[in-house]
C-alpha cells in the first residue's frame, strides 16, 4: 500500500517550460541529461522562521529555499569557490571600491530584467535600521551604513547604468566579492516593493528554481519548487523540481528516506549515526562542514584576566583530549580542531605555529596551572555554560570531567534550559562562567571565522576579546588584493589567537547525509547543503 504521489501539475509545467526552451533552437533536440529531467527531487527542510525575504532570512530552513529560487552576483561550487552567477564582472583596484557589471538578459520569473537597481534597492532596504532585517549587519562594511540612525540609501552604493553599479566600502576588504553569494546580497524585483509581506509569502526570484505557483509554500508542511527555464546561469537544474518537506524531527525524515518517500536527506538523526553508513553505503556521505565549535572563558571572570588567564586557558586546552571526546561522544561525526576556522575553507592549515596548544598533554597542563596558581591561587569551580535543549550535555560533561581529572579542580557543566535563555545571558554579559560557542560560516572565507568574533567590539565577540595586534593583522589581510597574501595575514592573526585563546577550539562539525536508490549525482556544498540542481533521478 505504498502510495506514490508526484505533483502532476508540476511536471506538466516543467514539461511546458522545456518545450519553450527547446523552441529557441527548434532544429536540434534538447540534450537529455542522465536521469529523468522532469523528476521532482524530494528533500528535507524545516519551516522557514521568517518570510522568504533574502535580507530577513538567517537560518537554514529559509536559506535552503532562497538559494534555490534566487541567484546572487556569485554562487559557490561544491568546494566553496565563487563563480559569477548574475555578475559579468566584479572589479577593484584597491579592495575598497568595486565596480560590478551584471550579465545582459537576466530576468526574474515575472519577466522583469535583473538590473543594477534590483541589487541596490534590495541592499538599501536590507541595511536600513527601520526595516529591522535580521541580516542587516551584512551591509555594515558599506559606506554610509549606520547602526545609530536610519539610512534609506547607502552612500556607498551607486547605480552607474542599468547593468553597472559601484560599491564603496568603509575600508578595504578583499573578501567582499566572496560574500556576494550569501542570501543577504540577492537582488529583488520591482514587484517586491508593492507589498513586501505578500512577496515574502510568494517570492519572485531569478534562480534555477521558482515557486510552483501561488501558495506553493504550504506552511509547516512543504514547499514545492519547479525549474525556472529562464535562468541562464551555471546552476542549470538536471531535474524537474524540488519538493522541500518540513520535518519536525530528523527521525521522521530518516524514516521517510528508509521508506522510500524521500530522495535526499542532509542530516542524519543521532539515533542512526552509527548505522547509516552500513545501511546506505555509497549512497551516504560524511564530509567536513564550515562549523567551528569552541568555548569561551572571558577575561572578566575571576582568575582569567591577564597573564594568569592566559596560563589557565592554555592549561585547560591541554587538559582536553579532543580525539577521545569526538570518538566516544560523537562517534566520529566531529573532527578535533587544529585552528579557529574550518578545513573546508580555502587557506586552512593544520600547522599554524602555536596550534600545539590544542594537543592533549596532561603534564604540561598541570605545570601551566601551577604557574598560574603562583600568580594567584585558584579557588572555586570551573564551569562551562550550555543550552540543555541542544544535545550538548554529553560533551560538556566529558570535557569538564577531563579538566577536573587532569587539573584536580572542581569542574562541571552549567546548563540553561533553553537556547533563548542561554543566548540572552551571553548577550547581556550576565553569564558568570565559561560558555560554549559555535560559528557557522556565512561565506567561505577565513576572515569570516575571525573578524566577526575576535576583532575588538565585533558583533559576536561574546568574550569581549581585544588585541590591537590581532585587529591590525585582520585589517591588513582584508586590504590585500592578492588572496594568498591575505591568507598569510589571517594565519598570522591566528597565531595570536593561539597565545591568547579568546575561545578554546574544540572541534569541527561534519555533515552526514544519505540518499535513495533512485537519485544520483548528490554532492554536498561547502555549507553542508546538497547542490540540488545537480541531482538526477530516474523513475
Amino acid at each position: 500500500m505504498k502510495i506514490k504521489r508526484i505533483g502532476v501539475a508540476a511536471i506538466a509545467l516543467a514539461a511546458a517550460g522545456a518545450l519553450t526552451l527547446a523552441g529557441c533552437s527548434s532544429s536540434s533536440e534538447p540534450e537529455a541529461p542522465a536521469g529523468d529531467s522532469t523528476a521532482i527531487i524530494t528533500t528535507n527542510g524545516s519551516e522557514p522562521q521568517n518570510p522568504l525575504i533574502p535580507t530577513n532570512t538567517n537560518e537554514t530552513g529559509g536559506g535552503k529555499i532562497l538559494d534555490s529560487i534566487f541567484a546572487g552576483l556569485v554562487y559557490y561550487d561544491g568546494e566553496g569557490a565563487p563563480h559569477n552567477d548574475m555578475a559579468e564582472s566584479i572589479e577593484t583596484d584597491d579592495a575598497q571600491t568595486y565596480t560590478i557589471t551584471i550579465k545582459d538578459g537576466q530576468t526574474f520569473t515575472n519577466g522583469e530584467d535583473v538590473t543594477a537597481e534590483s541589487f541596490v534597492k534590495a541592499w538599501n532596504y536590507g541595511a536600513a535600521l527601520d526595516n529591522a532585517q535580521l541580516s542587516s549587519y551584512f551591509f555594515d562594511s558599506i559606506e554610509g551604513f549606520s547602526y545609530d540612525e536610519n539610512v534609506d540609501e547607502l552612500s556607498g552604493l551607486e547605480v552607474v547604468d542599468d547593468s553597472t553599479f559601484t560599491v564603496t566600502l568603509k575600508q578595504p576588504e578583499s573578501d567582499f566579492p566572496l560574500r556576494l553569494g550569501y542570501s543577504a546580497f540577492f537582488p529583488l524585483p520591482e514587484a517586491a516593493w508593492e507589498d513586501l509581506d505578500a512577496f515574502g509569502e510568494n517570492p519572485i526570484g531569478n534562480g534555477p528554481y521558482m515557486l510552483d505557483g501561488e501558495g506553493a509554500w504550504k506552511h509547516n508542511e512543504r514547499i514545492d519548487l519547479v525549474v525556472n527555464e529562464d535562468y541562464q546561469g551555471d546552476r542549470q537544474a538536471a531535474n524537474g523540481g524540488l519538493s522541500i518537506i518540513f520535518y519536525a524531527t530528523q527521525d521522521a525524515a530518516y524514516a521517510d528516506l528508509q521508506g522510500g518517500n524521500l530522495d535526499v536527506l542532509d542530516a542524519i538523526p543521532d539515533s542512526a549515526l552509527s548505522t547509516f553508513q552500513d545501511e546506505f553505503g555509497d549512497r551516504s556521505v560524511t564530509q567536513g562542514a564550515a562549523i567551528f565549535q569552541s568555548f569561551v572563558v572571558p577575561d572578566r571572570l575571576a582568575h582569567f584576566g591577564g597573564e594568569e588567564g592566559k596560563l589557565r586557558r592554555a592549561a585547560i586546552s591541554h587538559a582536553i583530549n579532543r580525539e577521545e571526546v569526538t570518538d566516544v561522544i560523537f562517534s566520529g561525526t566531529r573532527t578535533p580542531a587544529h585552528d579557529f576556522t574550518s578545513p573546508v575553507i580555502d587557506g586552512y592549515s593544520e600547522d599554524i605555529p602555536g596550534s600545539d596548544v590544542l594537543e592533549y598533554d596532561p603534564e604540561l597542563a598541570k605545570e601551566l596551572w601551577a604557574e598560574a596558581d603562583a600568580i594567584s591561587p585558584w579557588e572555586g569551580s570551573f564551569q562551562i555554560g550550555y543550552n540543555a535543549d541542544g544535545g550538548h550535555q554529553g560533551w560538556v560533561d566529558a570535557v569538564t570531567n577531563q579538566i577536573k581529572n587532569e587539573l584536580g579542580i572542581d569542574a562541571s557543566g552549567a546548563p540553561y534550559p533553553t537556547f533563548a535563555e542561554f543566548r540572552t545571558a551571553i548577550t547581556d554579559r550576565t553569564i558568570e562562567t565559561g560558555f560554549r560557542t559555535g560559528w557557522q560560516a556565512d561565506y567561505p572565507s577565513l576572515s569570516n571565522f575571525l573578524g566577526p568574533i575576535y576583532v575588538t567590539g565585533a558583533g559576536s565577540n561574546d568574550g569581549d576579546y581585544s588585541n590591537p595586534e590581532f585587529d591590525a593583522l585582520i585589517n591588513e589581510g582584508l586590504s590585500e588584493t592578492e588572496v594568498e597574501a591575505g591568507i598569510e595575514k589571517f594565519q598570522q592573526a591566528q597565531e595570536i589567537l593561539f597565545e591568547d585563546l579568546p575561545a578554546i577550539p574544540l572541534w569541527y562539525s561534519t555533515v552526514n547525509g544519505a540518499w535513495g536508490e533512485q537519485v544520483e549525482n548528490v554532492q554536498f556544498g561547502w555549507n553542508s547543503v546538497p547542490l540540488y540542481y545537480e541531482v538526477t533521478k530516474s523513475e
Binding site: Y147, H219, D389, F419, R423, D462
Partner: protein
C-alpha cells in the same frame, strides 16, 4: 435545558479570559529573549535587536502586549507568526488535520475497546478475559513513542503497508497508522473500564428483574447492561478526545503530522507568544465544548440524570 446550556456558556467567558492571561503571562515569563535566539550562535548589534523587538511589539510591557493581543482576538485577529503567516490561518490549517486524527483514534479505540471490554465483562474469568487483561496491561505500560517507532518501522519501512510519515495534504489514509498508535494506549484503558463497568452493572437489580421478566439476552445486554455501563467510558473517551485535539506532540512529531501538536511545539521552542496563546485559547474552547457535550450526553444514556433549571 436551554438555561443550563446558556449558563455553562457564560461560565466559559471568565475561564477563557483567565487561561489566556495565565498562558500569556507564562510565555512572557519564559526566561530568555526569543529575538536573541533568532540569531543563533551569532550576536547581532543591539540596535538590530531593538528594531526587531519593536516590530513584534516585544519591547512593550507585558500588560500592554496582552491587551493588544486580547483586542486583536475580539476583532478576529490572532496575530502573526514570526514567519509572517496570520495565526488564524495556521489554526485553520492545523486543526482539521488534528481533528481527523483524533476522530480516527477515538473511533478505533471506541469500537475495539468497548466490544472487547463488553465480551470480557460478560465472560469474566474466561480465557478471552484473561488474555486481554494481560494484553491491556502490556499496552498501558508501553510509552507512546515506543509504540510509534515500532509501528513506523514494522508497518511503514519493513512491510510497506503504510506511508512512513504523513504525505502531502495529510490524506486520511496516511493518518490511519498514527491514529492506531494513539488509540492503542487508550484502547487498553477502555477495555478495562468497560469490563469493570459491565461486571458491576450485570449484578444490579434491574438486570436481574429484566432477566426474570423473561427478556432475551440479546435485549438485556445492549439495552440494560451496555447502555448503563457506558457513563464512565464516555467520560473517559471525551477526556481522551480533548487530549488528542490539543495535539499529540510526540506522535505528530514521529509521523510528521502537520497538526496542532507539532506546530505548537515549534512555536514554544521559538518563543512565539501570539501563536502559543492563540492555539491554547482555541484548545480551551474545544475542551469546554466537549465537556458540555459530555454532560448533556449523560442524560441521554441515563434518563435518571436531570439538569437543574
Amino acid at each position: 435545558m436551554a438555561g443550563y446550556i446558556a449558563r455553562r456558556l457564560l461560565q466559559a467567558i471568565p475561564v477563557l479570559l483567565g487561561t489566556t492571561f495565565l498562558i500569556y503571562f507564562m510565555v512572557f515569563a519564559m526566561p530568555g529573549d526569543p529575538v536573541v535566539a533568532l540569531f543563533g550562535d551569532k550576536t547581532p548589534p543591539p540596535q538590530v535587536l531593538e528594531a526587531v523587538r519593536e516590530r513584534y511589539n516585544l519591547d512593550k510591557p507585558f500588560i500592554v502586549q496582552y491587551l493588544l493581543f486580547l483586542g486583536g482576538i475580539f476583532q478576529g485577529d490572532f496575530g502573526v507568526s514570526f514567519s509572517g503567516q496570520p495565526v488564524s490561518e495556521i489554526l485553520a490549517v492545523t486543526f482539521p488535520v488534528t481533528l481527523q486524527l483524533a476522530v480516527l483514534a477515538v473511533l478505533i479505540e471506541m469500537v475495539f475497546g468497548i466490544t472487547i471490554g463488553l465480551v470480557s465483562g460478560l465472560r469474566k474469568g474466561g480465557i478471552f478475559d484473561a488474555s486481554f487483561l494481560v494484553v491491556s496491561l502490556i499496552l498501558i505500560s508501553l510509552p507512546v513513542f515506543v509504540v510509534a517507532f515500532v509501528a513506523q518501522f514494522v508497518f511503514g519501512i519493513q512491510l510497506g503497508w503504510f506511508r512512513t510519515t504523513v504525505g502531502p495534504g495529510a490524506p486520511i489514509q496516511d493518518l490511519v497508522l498514527p491514529a492506531i498508535v494513539l488509540a492503542t494506549i487508550s484502547f487498553a484503558q477502555i477495555v478495562r473500564l468497560t469490563r469493570a463497568s459491565v461486571i458491576d452493572t450485570g449484578g444490579q437489580d434491574f438486570v436481574r428483574t429484566a432477566a426474570s421478566k423473561g427478556l432475551s439476552r440479546r435485549r438485556i445486554v445492549p439495552v440494560h447492561i451496555l447502555r448503563n455501563s457506558l457513563i464512565p467510558v464516555v467520560t473517559y473517551l471525551a477526556v481522551d478526545f480533548g487530549v488528542l485535539m490539543v495535539g499529540a506532540t510526540v506522535t505528530e512529531g514521529i509521523f510528521n503530522v502537520p497538526g496542532v501538536g507539532r506546530t505548537l511545539y515549534q512555536a514554544i521552542i521559538r518563543g512565539e507568544g501570539p501563536t502559543v496563546v492563540s492555539f491554547v485559547t482555541v484548545m480551551v474552547l474545544i475542551y469546554l465544548v466537549i465537556n458540555l457535550l459530555v454532560d448533556l450526553l449523560y442524560a441521554v444514556l441515563d434518563p435518571r440524570i436531570r439538569y437543574a433549571k
